[in-house]
Amino acid sequence: MFWKYGLFFSILSGGIWGIFWQIFFTVIGILTLGIPLSLELSQIMIIGPLAGILYIKSQKFLSIKFHLTAIIIITFLIFISHLGNPYQVEDENRLIIFMLILLTSFFIWGSLNHSLYNLSPGELSKYDVESFFIKFTWGLGLIILILITLIPFYIMIITSLKNQQSLILNPLDISVNLNTDFKTLFNSYIELFTNFNFHLFLINSFIVSCTTVIITLFFSIPGAYALARLRVPNKKIFSGTVILIYLIPSIVLIIPLYVIFSSIGLRNSLFGLILVYPATTIPVALYMLRGYFSALSSEIDDAALMDGLSRIQIILKIAIPLSKPAIVSVGLYVFMIAWNEFLIAFMFLDDPSIFTLSRGIMSLNSSEIPQQHLMAGAVIATIPIMIIFLYLEKFLISGLSAGGVKG
């Protein structure tokens, strides 16, 4: 059967890698040049497989010299297959187009080198076939995964650095012109901080999130300790209820909360938010910390009890110091929930001076306010959480894995 031969796989992977990199670099070309390039795939569908065959047939004498020759051959083939003008562009862009083709060839060859390495052109065993497929999809999957994850963030940043004119003139130009001065480049940010009170929103968000973390930890640490260590009556019902409450979404509670908080006059205030947020995070924190405390050995507690420490002292002097990393994780996770919370802030806050960032960005979502302001707001809200994430990734990841099924 032909699909058991290495040659077939070389043709297949040559074709797919060819198409992938051709699309990739056409997009890059459009974005960097800002000129129309039409997507032509028919030529690469022949050249790619040819490159695949070339690779697998010449595997025995691979050397740097050979690699270079192969890349030049592919570049040449792409060039002549398009009659010297593969992207139908004007002369002044020829050099960039040539660079793009060179890069396309380089990446096709590199990808082939990765997925076809040590594959014989003849009949293959089942093991080799599957190894090939895994290697092949591994590379392709990794690239696609990273691209898909990062593109919206890239767009967010780039859009925030543009001005209205350039956005309308050419939405495709997503390069940043670094020659412009600081003021024009960060115009949207300056605008947000001077005219839209974003400094206040930032402070409000910090106040609300930090207070939520403190209140949550203050109540959930003793609660979790009690559930993990003490013989509380109906413990099972407690734990079950904690999980159940942790699953109740705020949309189910928002109408009564709106009604109650309106009638007692707490709705349009940060204090109201600080009252509601911990109630939604305490069950999560309790659930996570209970797990951590149960994992600590109870013999230490017993020894401390023998030495005459009270339970409160045990919590303060033994349980908390021993589970510091866990508490940091839980704290970060709660901070993230409070920082990112949208619905309650959106329903509760009407007064622009007490907006949190989420609420503030929502107020930018109108047709009168330019897009780049909206995206600058999004960047401002994302940066603090990213800084925390990058610095304390280890803690946040363990927090996510312990309680992260919420959200």
Binding site: E130, L145, I385
Partner: protein, 427 residues
């Protein structure tokens, strides 16, 4: 002897119980007041015809005015009280207006006589019923007498005192099932049900599948793996409002990059409104079928944002698995796919089913994402968005609460299923 031991043990136990309850008490109180009480209140509201306007309680507005000059001894002046029911919906009952008439005045006449009387210097008007939107006047004809003092005897100095009772729809004991009838009979109910389940099932399964693939890819060690692992978590940790708007701008029909790109590359001839178009026709082998575009986009966003979570869990599980098992399988000649199918998958199936159930519940409850992307338009209205739509867009709080009750019943069913299932699996 045994008795003493038993007794002392008991007191220790009692002490522990007490302490445990004290430690848990704040949590219980907070959760009771901010979760359980509102939950019950939601049931209460769902059986009542409450609209957003009912949150402002009805009020009797009374204004006091003086007509004519009070300074002249023989001249008759008027003290007028104008009252008005501010509510456009509710009548006020047992309305009583009281005011003190200063000593320096003699009252000549009092209108309307059937409601008002003077008791010494106190004016008492028992108006009984003031129907909605209605208003009226109380007129006192007065003149100055000998006791009059310039500074003390300004009738406006004492504010009229008003008492009334009104029917408050929120606290009354009138219930009806109108809201539920409305929710269930509306033709859109089944549409909403269908959309909710499409969104939940495909969103959850998609995120789980992409997470599984991502975990498989990242299990192999390569240079920069920990950086890539961090990158892949970005969508999940960033604020939903930021990433949702980034998607909206990315797919914008006028200035979005995806549309301009597709037009430039001649893939489509005119821009597509990804988040605003309910269906798009897709032609496969000559058959035209309607593809729910906006819903699919919202599902894609859900997958993009939540795959990191499944990925994190599955990767953590896979890394706890002993490597030797794979080595042994290799020696026995198991191919990579066989290794995945017969070793990894059975090992992961437990965590994946738990993840599926939990994520299913959370996706079903998801509000922010859809609300920010489409506002529930173009065939993306799930139950959660419907709560907002009914309660705050149409301002029918009762109907919104009724939808919330429906969500809660679904949630309860799913959670009970989850708890029964998770007992077998250690999470």
């Amino acid at each position: 002897m045994t008795n003493i031991i038993k007794k002392s043990k008991n007191t220790l136990l009692e002490k522990e119980k007490k302490l445990g309850l004290i430690l848990l008490l704040p949590t219980i109180l907070i959760v009771l007041s901010v979760v359980i009480f509102p939950l019950l209140a939601n049931f209460w509201i769902s059986f009542k015809p409450v609209s957003l306007g009912d949150l402002r309680p009805p009020k009797l507005i009374v204004k006091e005015r003086i007509k004519g000059k009070l300074s002249d001894k023989n001249q008759i002046a008027e003290i007028q009280y104008r009252y008005r029911n501010s509510s456009i919906k509710y009548d006020l009952e047992n309305v009583i207006i009281k005011d003190i008439i200063p000593n320096g005045f003699t009252v000549k006449d009092l209108q309307p006589t059937q409601f008002c009387r003077l008791k010494l210097k106190e004016l008492i008007c028992n108006l009984n019923n003031v129907s909605s939107r209605s208003s009226g006047k109380i007129i006192l004809k007065v003149h100055k007498n000998d006791q009059w003092q310039e500074e003390l005897d300004n009738p406006k100095k004492t504010k009229p005192f008003v008492t009334f009772s009104s029917k408050n729809v929120l606290t009354s004991f009138e219930f009806n099932t109108e809201n539920f009838k409305k929710v269930f009979s509306a033709s859109e109910f089944f549409e909403v049900l269908k959309v909710s389940f499409y969104y939940t099932i495909f969103g959850t399964a998609g995120a789980l599948l992409v997470g599984l693939i991502a975990a498989q890819i990242l299990q192999k060690s390569f240079r920069g793996r920990s950086i890539v692992r961090g990158l892949l978590l970005f969508p999940y940790v960033s604020p939903v409002i930021a990433v949702a708007f980034a998607w909206v701008i990315l797919f914008d029909p006028y200035s979005g990059i995806v549309n301009s790109m597709l037009v430039q590359m001649n893939v489509i001839d005119k821009p597509i409104n990804f988040f605003g178009q309910k269906y798009t026709d897709i032609i496969i082998f000559g058959y035209v079928f309607k593809f729910p575009l906006a819903l699919s986009m919202v599902i894609a966003f859900e997958i993009w944002r939540y795959f990191p979570l499944s990925f994190l869990f599955i990767l953590a599980r896979m890394q706890s698995f002993p490597e030797e098992v794979y080595d042994a399988a290799k020696i026995d000649g198991a191919s990579p796919l066989q290794q995945f199918y017969y070793i990894s998958l059975p090992f992961l199936i437990g965590i994946m089913s738990i993840l599926f159930l939990l994520r299913f519940i959370w996706t079903f409850n998801k509000f922010d994402d859809i609300f920010l992307l489409t506002g529930g338009n173009a065939g993306t209205r799930t139950f959660t968005v419907n709560v907002y739509e009914q309660a705050f867009a149409i301002s029918n709080l009762g109907a919104g609460a009724a939808v919330a009750v429906v969500i809660f019943i679904f949630l309860l069913t799913f959670s009970l299923l989850f708890m029964r299932y998770s007992k077998k699996e250690t999470f």
